[in-house]
Amino acid sequence: MLPLYGGSLPVGRFCVAALKEMGHLVETFEAPEFYDAYNALDNLKVTSDRHQYLQNSFLQVLSQAVLAKTETFEPDMVLSMAQAPLTHQALKRLKRDKVVTAMWFVEDFRLFTYWQSFAPFYDIFAVIQKEHFFDKLKEIGVDNTLYLPLAAHPDFHHPLNIGVIDARKYGADVSFMGAGYPNRRMAFRKLIHHGLKIWGSEWEGDHVLDKYIQLGGRRVTSEECVKIFNATKINLNLHSSINVDELVSGGDFINPRTFELAACGAFQLVDRRSLMAEAFSDGELAHFDNLEDLDEKIGYFLAHPNERDLYAEKGRKRVLADHTYVIRMQTLIDFTMDKIDDWPKERTSKELFTPDFPEELKSEVMNLIEKLGLPLNVSFEDLVSAIRLQQGELNPLDTAILFLDEWKKIYKR
């Protein structure tokens, strides 16, 4: 279940990619496709109660769509990203239908406080913070809580050979990619002498920083991020805070950028977080403690490229070993197996290549299995599910397998 928009959207997409890579069958609810229609309700110029009513109704439709999809796909788990459009009613219905639901709440619980409303409706609640959050969740009856820090997806976040044109566009001595939170605005005003490039949105109205904002301050795509990370000598990674007085907030969770930059083999200067010590060892990330320290370290590392490379190499190695989305998804699955009895439910799956499987078709079916990225011992049911997920016109073999599946269901074979 992807959210309509926002920061957890790319995280959701990486979860999908990781689960697929792990050989799971994944069906995605593409909520972003509905976002324009939802926003169009804002242009109605109707009374506020009507507006609210329409927005709620729209979200009910989305929830119904999720339920219908669940009914058809029969997943072992419905995994939601924070802000996934699932209503209380839909979550209750999923519970009644014994569909295991999990949320990966990749938000700061102190800022995004809505979790109090929906967390109790999920079977599994994974979070990126520990302190107090677990206690607070327990207080409202949420037992199956899991610390699941963010991650990178190495198939996507990896070192790139940046061409001349991209190097000019995305490259810089020092750059920052992220939204314009107050602590960042304050800090970066004092760093402009390094020729800073600022990427990302929500930087409007800052006269000092205006000319350093790239791409007109629009949201940067995940693909562009990888180019920026790779083309930049020093990537600043300053965790967000709404507190202007405190540049380095010293908060707990680690932002996705930390893992992504490291996976890209890019060098970063990152502020310390309380949960960082268990994720990275000394020498894997270069830290700064305050603005002066940061200013100084920028100068230092610009002058010492070999040291940058050393950090980058170690950081990437650590992420590949411990902080990928594949590892996170496996942790989530293991946790769910531990907490939920008889999960996942045993499916009656049949061997694909039974003794009477026609010899002449075997090699073609093997090719199909390979094309779909499935394990060679895939069951008939999983092969059918994978073919069903394909788009557009199908070839005769795909069609014959889907047809056989329906034939078997109708005649109970």
């Binding site: 788009q391 005769p396 047809f403 109708i410």
Partner: protein, 409 residues
């Protein structure tokens, strides 16, 4: 020459009832291909000699195992053949998951009927409209016309089958249809056969049915005195599709419940005397074309749903058991018609085959006429300026999304 594929994966009767669509497509200058279950291949060749037949495995009968070594390889070959042919249109007729999957082979824009677009099953607007009309089963249209209307330029209904006329070869009796509740038990059927025979010049009777009706045929034979039985031939299980067609084409009359053989009879222009009870309703699935007679049971629960049990002690069967029933068959005088039955004769109108009351009652006749006119206007066959408007029907059968999404049903 442009090509059209008609996918008709259901049974004998449905294949015959696809005739108007097939003739319409041929009339539009298209080369018509027909995709059917392989058990119906020879029948399809008999019915539609000009069509190119693609016979796959869609039925379960006669196939052992899970289909991996039969259904899969055979259908794969057929799908390869179909994929290589550049069809202009694919008429995918059945509301069945198998049809939707088969539709995945083609560009959805070319499919008319049931299609699967990026994994989402979608019904053609006319099919959806048909589903809505079918909620009023008493006034429903003939399924032959329902399928034919998927194409523009439908050939006139009267040109589908020639007017039924006796052929001189005696009487044929179909003993049972697929659903036993829709058929007359042999003790009810026997006196009716005798009555029909008494007024027919040729006294010969042939019993028709599949192999499973062979014994029923023998039991029915035993109901007749030897003098009559000697003129009765039990052909159940003995006829291939060609023999069956030859036999039926020579008959004076076919006495039958709602069966595939009944539709074959209509196709061949042999008069049908149909016994319609339980879930059978002549306006939906009666024999197509002019000159057929249906004795229709009409109760508050008629027509019922085939898949649901009868909680009314099969009350629609009772009038067929009454003594006066045989007398009615012999004389066709309305006075002898038992209560609960109505007699309809088939005719053709602007829309298709229609049934006209000859005896008994037809309480929804007015509504049916109105509905047919509404559908006629909808399909552009009648002028709404002259026949319409139909606000109540439009409110019931048109849905907001029809016009909101701009689709023309």
């Amino acid at each position: 020459m442009k090509r059209a594929l008609v996918v008709q994966l259901t049974r004998f009767g449905d294949l015959v009832q696809t005739k108007r669509l097939i003739l319409t497509l041929a009339g539009r200058g298209l080369e018509v291909h027909l995709c059917i279950d392989r058990s119906l291949k020879y029948l399809a060749e008999v019915l539609y000699p000009k069509c190119i037949i693609h016979a796959l495995i869609a039925h379960g009968t006669g196939i052992s195992g899970d289909g991996t070594n039969s259904t899969l390889p055979i259908n794969y070959k057929i799908f390869q053949t179909l994929k290589d042919i550049n069809f202009e249109y694919i008429y995918n007729l059945n509301f069945s998951p198998m049809n939707y999957m088969l539709g995945s082979l083609f560009d959805p824009a070319k499919i008319i009927g049931h299609k699967r677009v990026n994994g989402q099953p979608i019904r053609d607007p006319w099919i959806e409209f048909g589903f809505r009309i079918a909620t009023e089963r008493r006034n429903n249209i003939n399924i032959v016309d329902y399928w034919a209307a998927l194409s523009p330029e439908m050939i006139p209904a009267s040109e589908v089958n020639s007017r039924a006329t006796p052929k001189g070869g005696g009487i044929g009796v179909v003993m049972a249809g697929r659903e036993s509740r829709r058929s007359l038990p042999i003790e009810v059927l026997a006196p009716l056969i005798l009555a029909a025979r008494s007024v027919n010049k040729n006294k010969k009777i042939v019993l028709l049915g599949s192999n499973s009706e062979k014994d029923t045929g023998e039991k029915l034979l035993a109901k007749f005195p030897p003098s009559i039985a000697k003129n009765i031939e039990n052909l159940a299980g003995k006829t291939g599709w060609k023999d069956l067609a030859n036999t039926v084409s020579n008959l004076d009359l076919l006495m039958t419940p709602d069966t595939g053989t009944m539709h074959l009879s209509a196709h061949l222009g042999t008069p049908v005397l149909g016994f319609f009870l339980s879930s059978a309703w002549c306006f939906e699935t009666g024999p197509y074309g002019e000159g057929h007679t249906i004795i229709q049971a009409g109760f508050d629960c008629s027509p019922c749903v085939e898949s649901q049990p009868c909680y009314n002690d099969l009350k629609c069967l009772k009038p067929f058991k009454e003594q006066s029933m045989a007398r009615f068959i012999a004389t066709r005088k309305p006075d002898h018609l038992p209560q609960g039955l109505s007699v309809f004769e088939s005719t053709c109108d602007f829309l298709g085959t229609q049934y006209v009351l000859k005896a008994g009652q037809d309480i929804t006749s007015e509504r049916r006429t109105q509905l047919r006119n509404f559908i006629g206007c909808h399909l552009g066959m009648l002028d709404i300026g002259e026949y319409g408007p139909f606000p109540e029907l439009a409110e019931k059968f048109y849905k907001e999304k029809d016009w909101i999404t701009g689709s023309r049903l």
